[in-house]
């Protein structure tokens, strides 16, 4: 039983991280129907900016005196940075292709992904970058079960950010505008919603969430690496589709399921096939429910 609960905790932590990344995919998909392959790289960039800032604070000596404040500052600055970053990427690589076929934009995204991960490698070096100090390494023991402070922090942050996002999308004017743009760009522009601005905003929010995930991954695993965006990117994409792409609640659910399946697959059956289990769950869910768990009705003409 202890073992089960411990694995459950591991699964929730991993699932939370996937969910945060998946949200970026799903939001972008919701408004412009683009699989943004470069999203994983934005997540990695977030991890790098986080380590740069935290090392900088450590170098100045603030980390000793105000650790929480530094961490908060790092989160806010990184999320802001990545938001600007993603908007830049969107303006350069996706906006000119908005009127073209979706595959053209997909390819542009793929090129951008290769470009960004190699850009990170060249500016930040090929070696892993370690997060400074031993932040929050300990944990709380309940008998045989250990819950790390970082695990708590990840789950807490994830819930907080998801909650905030839900309020933003469903309770505010901006969220309404986003939903309107997602449904019909022409109609929404008739009621004076600037679709360009909404699309940029969507990229910015998605990137902010990915950046937060990036820092948490860096803290939790202790280091970042230039190619760390690729695999989580694919997993998060799978999570977004599993939940029903374009659907925010679906993405959270999908992320959690993928994370759980991986952990339990590795914990109870075999580590080498854990990705196979994740994909089999994905395929069988989509077989019986072709638009994902919380899926919408897709119309026919999508390529």
């Amino acid at each position: 039983m202890d073992y089960f609960i411990q694995q459950l905790i591991n699964g929730i932590t991993l699932g939370g991280l996937y969910a945060l990344i998946a949200l970026g995919y799903t939001m972008v998909y919701g408004v412009i129907q683009l699989i943004n392959f470069a999203h994983g790289e934005i997540f990695a960039t977030g991890g790098y900016v986080g380590v740069i800032l935290l090392s900088f604070f450590t170098g100045l000596g603030y980390m000793e005196t105000h650790p929480i404040l530094c961490l908060a500052a790092a989160f806010v600055l990184t999320m802001g940075y990545c938001a600007f970053f993603a908007v830049g990427v969107e303006k350069v690589a996706y906006k000119p292709l908005r009127k073209q076929s979706r595959l053209a934009a997909l390819l542009s995204a793929l090129g951008m992904s290769i470009f960004l991960s190699n850009g990170l490698m060249l500016t930040q070096g090929v070696y892993d970058k370690a997060y400074p100090g031993e932040l929050f390494q300990g944990g709380v023991d309940f008998g045989n079960i250990t819950i790390g402070y970082l695990q708590m922090m990840i789950v807490g942050m994830t819930i907080f950010l998801l909650f905030g996002l839900n309020i933003l999308v469903f309770k505010t004017k901006i969220g309404m505008a986003m939903r309107a743009t997602a449904q019909d760009k022409v109609m929404s522009s008739l009621v004076s919603i600037s679709s360009n601005r909404i699309i940029s905003l969507t990229f910015a929010i998605g990137a902010g969430l990915a950046a937060a995930a990036g820092i948490m991954v860096g803290l939790y695993y202790g280091s970042v690496r230039y190619d760390m965006g690729f695999l989580p990117g694919i997993k998060a994409f799978a999570a977004a589709v599993l939940g029903g792409i374009g659907n925010i609640t679906g993405a959270m659910l999908g992320g959690l399921i993928i994370g759980m399946v991986e952990i339990f697959g590795a914990g109870y059956i075999s580590g080498q096939y854990k990705d196979v289990f994740a994909f089999i769950i994905l395929i069988s869910v989509l077989y019986f429910k072709p638009t994902g768990i919380m899926g919408e009705n897709i119309d026919d003409t999508r390529v």
Binding site: G59, Y81, A93, L103, A238, Y273, I283, L286, P290, V303
Partner: protein
């Protein structure tokens, strides 16, 4: 020219400043608590200077300042174009074929190796074109069939000593079967759901290849695969046949060329047959196609199977050429690469895909000179090519509006 420049300078300047702002945190904040601006600024200046020159050239060309150079060139192009239009199609094909045939006589090993790679990817690209370009199904796990073909040949050759030529139909058949098995459950899905499911299947196949130790020898790969062979009659002491292994690169090049030509002819025939038209009708509007009596399910499965078949053939050859096969050759990135060739070249257009395959294989080799900057430049050039030719280098003539929209 000034007019043109006025239109773009504002977004361009904002873009450059934006880039400076993004670059600085990555380069200018140091872990010892110091900040620097010098190195960021230098890097930025290089980028700014490079892009400004490109922009100026672009604007000058657009506004006609370069007419002195470009007009005679355009005139020349015109005359050559008119002259070439008079030359019938087959002459061009003959010229190309002759060039391809003579190619190994003038080139070294490296060029032949790259050319062989290009030809393999031409087969793959054309196969994927059947699925993506003709039938309009986005497939991100295509490389799995390539892997099935490669492992089929490797296993049959190692365990049963079967020769390359006998294995080719087997490889094709196995890949085709795999295509049907994977295709059957996925065809209910559409669009991006299909994409992720195919991606999943592709990964499952790769992980199986990596883990099934007793069959595939896992990550160690299979060694000792024989290259293609031919039988040479020898007349010493009666007639007997000698097995001659085609190890040399130029032999392999010719086999690849033959394979690519067969694929081109086959895909062309498929494209302009009843089946091809039915596929295109599915791509343009599935519901309408079904209404007109097209058996969409069967045809989609057929598209999947045909695509897999060509990948199987290419895979068998790939394995014979490398004389070694390991799961590392069948990652998701390869699938993405093949898809890029199809989209970059122009979906549904055979010359386009040939060009796309050539571009995406030759470019990283050209960029070898950049060493570590190689993939950076490659990624950038992919984006730039897409921005300037979003419908592909040579777009297909028969491509409807509907399939392009994707609302």
């Amino acid at each position: 020219m000034i007019q043109e420049f006025k239109k773009v300078w504002k977004p361009y300047t904002i873009g450059l400043l934006w880039l400076l702002g993004l670059l600085w945190p990555l380069l200018g904040i140091h872990p010892d608590g110091t900040l620097s601006f010098g190195n960021t600024f230098t890097v930025w200046l290089y980028i700014a200077a490079g892009t400004t020159i490109c922009l100026l050239l672009y604007i000058m060309n657009k506004s006609g300042s370069l007419n002195a150079v470009s007009r005679p060139l355009a005139g020349l192009q015109e005359t050559v174009g008119q002259a070439s239009a008079k030359v019938p199609n087959w002459v061009w094909i003959v010229i190309l074929l002759a060039a391809a045939f003579c190619y190994p006589f003038f080139t070294g090993r490296y060029a032949q190796d790259v050319a062989t790679n290009v030809l393999i990817y031409v087969c793959l690209g054309l196969g994927l074109n059947v699925v993506v370009g003709l039938a309009g199904m986005l497939d991100l796990g295509y490389i799995a069939f390539y892997g099935v073909g490669a492992y089929t040949y490797a296993l049959l050759n190692i365990h049963f000593g079967m020769s390359f030529w006998i294995c080719l139909p087997f490889a094709a058949a196995f890949a085709l079967t795999a295509g049907c098995i994977i295709g059957y459950p996925t065809l209910r899905m559409r669009g991006d759901y299909l994409a992720i499911v195919t991606l999943g299947f592709g990964e499952i196949v790769r992980i199986l290849l990596n883990n099934w130790m007793s069959l595939t020898n896992g990550p160690n790969g299979l060694l000792g695969v024989k290259p293609p062979s031919i039988l040479i009659p020898s007349f010493q002491g009666g007639i007997s046949f000698e097995v001659f292994y085609l190890k040399k690169l130029h032999f392999l090049y010719y086999i690849a060329l033959a394979l690519a030509i067969v694929t081109i002819i086959a895909v062309r025939h498929l494209n302009f047959s009843r089946i091809g038209r039915a596929w295109e009708s599915i791509r343009e509007d599935e519901t309408a196609a079904e209404l007109m009596g097209v058996n969409t399910f069967k045809l989609k499965l057929l598209a999947y199977a045909m695509g897999a078949l060509f990948a199987g053939l290419a895979g068998a050859f790939f394995c014979a050429r490398m004389r070694f096969v390991s799961p590392e050759s069948f990652t998701f990135l390869e699938s993405a690469m093949v898809l890029s060739m199809v989209v970059l070249g122009g979906m549904g257009s055979i010359p386009g895909i040939i060009l796309g395959a050539a571009a995406l294989i030759v470019l990283p080799e050209v960029f070898r000179e950049f060493e570590t900057y190689r993939m950076l430049v490659f990624g950038m050039s992919m984006v730039v090519m897409m921005l300037f030719r979003p419908a592909g280098l040579i777009p297909a003539k028969r491509m409807g509006k509907r399939g392009e929209e994707g609302e």
